[in-house]
């Protein structure tokens, strides 16, 4: 029997995927895709942003397809050994556009009470966790990166380890409070749509960074501690850049007033 069910890929989804896929490929060819930042890698990429935008606008299958196109081209064009590996270049990229869709869908319809509850939950969770890290430092703390147990470099113990633990706790506290504050600020101004877009961009970028670095470690190109260092230093500027660009584009396309803070400006 002939089924008349809607196919997963309607004409709209096909075309939007193709068009945003083209932008992802184009950004890879121009300097535009790389924004100079103060990190070891030297550049924050915006090439994954079409996948995030596609996921937000047209649903997760579109985000997944754009991510795959981006992955295939970063594999074919790459002249760096790490990304000339399909398991690093293509596989993690499929998910870049999937996670933002669910975050966006989940957050955009949330009312003020729930919004403040989420902000408070972030605040309490991060607060308790980082306060715990700052005050109750485990006595026999060891940072072991899997090296020689006699080497003082990769086997941190005693005062040094405790200090690093506290610095990490303080950093987490600042970042967490900042995130909760920003969240509450947008809920207060009743800009749930903008908040949902921005959070989706954060989650999409994190998906890219975390999955790519995981595959790099799994494939043995870099050790876990080097990858963690790259992840923290590279991840933060990339998240900031992605939020700025995604919010500007999606807000402009949907005709949302974003006010003074970042967002769409008259061109």
């Amino acid at each position: 029997m002939e089924t008349t069910a809607q196919p997963v890929f309607s004409v709209r989804r096909i075309v939007v995927t193709g068009v945003l896929g083209a932008i992802a490929i184009l950004l890879g060819y121009t300097r535009l895709g790389f924004i100079p930042v103060p990190t070891p890698a030297g550049n924050a990429t915006i090439m994954h942003i079409p996948a995030i935008i596609g996921g937000i606008l047209e649903g997760w299958p579109v985000g997944a397809a754009i991510g795959t196109i981006f992955g295939i081209f970063s594999f074919l064009q790459s002249t760096t050994p790490i990304f000339k590996d399909p398991l690093v270049a293509i596989l993690p990229r499929i998910f870049i556009g999937i996670t933002p869709y669910f975050v966006y869908r989940g957050l955009r319809r949330v009312n003020r009470a729930v919004g403040f509850a989420i902000a408070a939950a972030i605040l309490i969770l991060v607060g308790v966790f980082s306060y715990d890290m700052l005050t109750f430092v485990p006595k026999d703390l060891v940072f072991d990166f899997g090296g020689d147990p006699n080497s003082p470099w990769i086997h941190l113990t005693g005062q040094t380890a405790r200090l690093i633990y506290q610095i990490l706790g303080a950093l987490l506290m600042v970042l967490g409070f900042g995130a909760a504050g920003t969240f509450a600020y947008f809920v207060q101004r009743n800009q749930m749509e903008l908040l949902a877009i921005g959070t989706a961009a954060v989650v999409g970028t994190l998906t890219n960074t975390v999955l790519v670095l995981t595959m790099i470690v799994v494939r043995g190109y870099l050790t876990a501690d080097v990858a963690l260092g790259i992840g923290i230093t590279q991840g933060i500027p990339e998240i900031i850049v992605a939020v700025l660009v995604t919010v500007a584009v999606v807000a402009a396309w949907k005709g949302i007033e974003s006010g003074a803070g970042g967002g769409a400006r008259k061109v």
């Binding site: 004409v11 935008i53 002249t79 090296g147 700025l244 402009a252």
Partner: protein, 282 residues
């Protein structure tokens, strides 16, 4: 003015019409063989397997008539990164990461731990990179974009039975490739328009990356919005013509595999299987 010349640097469809044996292969068979060889390269970690793969990949180049200089064109700019990565791998790859392999240590000082596993990883990574570089050049120089998308679609076609949108995905790929030059031109136009209004597109230093990003917004936002607007027009045009994807569509070009194609596929499959399943000692 060189920074405005975007469309000139785009090398999509770097097809070289040479009419060699590899050029004339059925694109489906070519893609399958490519995938098999990529799998063999990706999962081979021994010296022996990589030496054989390196030899085979270079031996394939004459069959495509592609000048070796073209096939290796991406190698020169990558050499510093390859060397840096190799140095990191040799110095920092500690034996506990090797998964129970026996590694003999050469040198150890502070965080630096140089052992046979790290050296093997560095050598294999470098060889793997060259193999994949040559192989992808072989594919892209010898196959037109049309052949690639048609081949992809027909390879994925059996999956439509499980509701996998094979035809639709192939169409998105065609659309993406079709629009890259259009958007490159559009980006050039936007850049010139912004510069003529006094916008500065230059570098502002790494520490001011937020300003740098905000300076990019007048380029990126019109690019995305123009693209989405074009998408709306295309959707309207396609729906007005009652476009329906899927099984019932026929193709202008019908692919037909020759006996020699099947022979190549069988050979590649046997070779890839040998590389993957023979436990090489080194």
């Amino acid at each position: 003015m060189d920074e405005f010349e975007i469309s000139r640097h785009i090398t999509i469809g770097q097809y070289l019409a040479l009419g060699s044996f590899i050029h004339k292969m059925d694109p489906r068979i070519k893609l399958l063989s490519f995938a098999l060889l990529v799998a063999a390269i990706t999962f081979s970690a021994s010296y022996t397997a990589n030496a054989i793969l390196l030899f085979v990949v270079f031996a394939l180049v004459p069959f495509s008539k592609i000048p070796i200089r073209y096939a290796l064109s991406g190698l020169k700019p990558a050499i510093p990164i390859v060397l840096l990565l190799a140095a990191l791998q040799i110095m920092l790859y500690t034996s506990t990461f090797a998964g129970g392999q026996h590694c003999s240590s050469f040198f150890r000082w502070g965080p630096i731990d140089s052992n046979s596993c790290g050296v093997q990883l560095a050598m294999v990574s470098a060889a793997r990179f060259v193999e994949l570089l040559v192989l992808t050049s072989l594919l892209t120089f010898s196959t037109t974009v049309t052949e690639l998308t048609l081949g992809t679609e027909q390879l994925l076609a059996p999956l439509t039975r499980f509701n996998f949108p094979a035809h639709e995905l192939a169409l998105t790929l065609t659309l993406a490739l079709r629009f890259v030059p259009t958007f490159a031109e559009e980006l050039e136009r936007i850049m010139k328009a912004q510069v003529s209004r006094g916008a500065e597109l230059g570098q502002r230093g790494r520490l001011r990356f937020i300003q740098q990003t905000r300076a990019l917004l007048p380029l990126v936002v019109p690019l995305f919005l123009g693209a989405l607007r074009r998408a709306e027009e295309l959707i309207l045009a396609m729906e007005a013509r009652c476009y329906v994807g899927g099984k019932r569509r026929t193709h202008l070009l019908e692919l037909r595999a020759k006996p020699s194609d099947w022979l190549v596929l069988a050979g590649t499959a046997a070779f890839a299987a040998a590389m993957l399943f023979i436990p090489f000692r080194f």
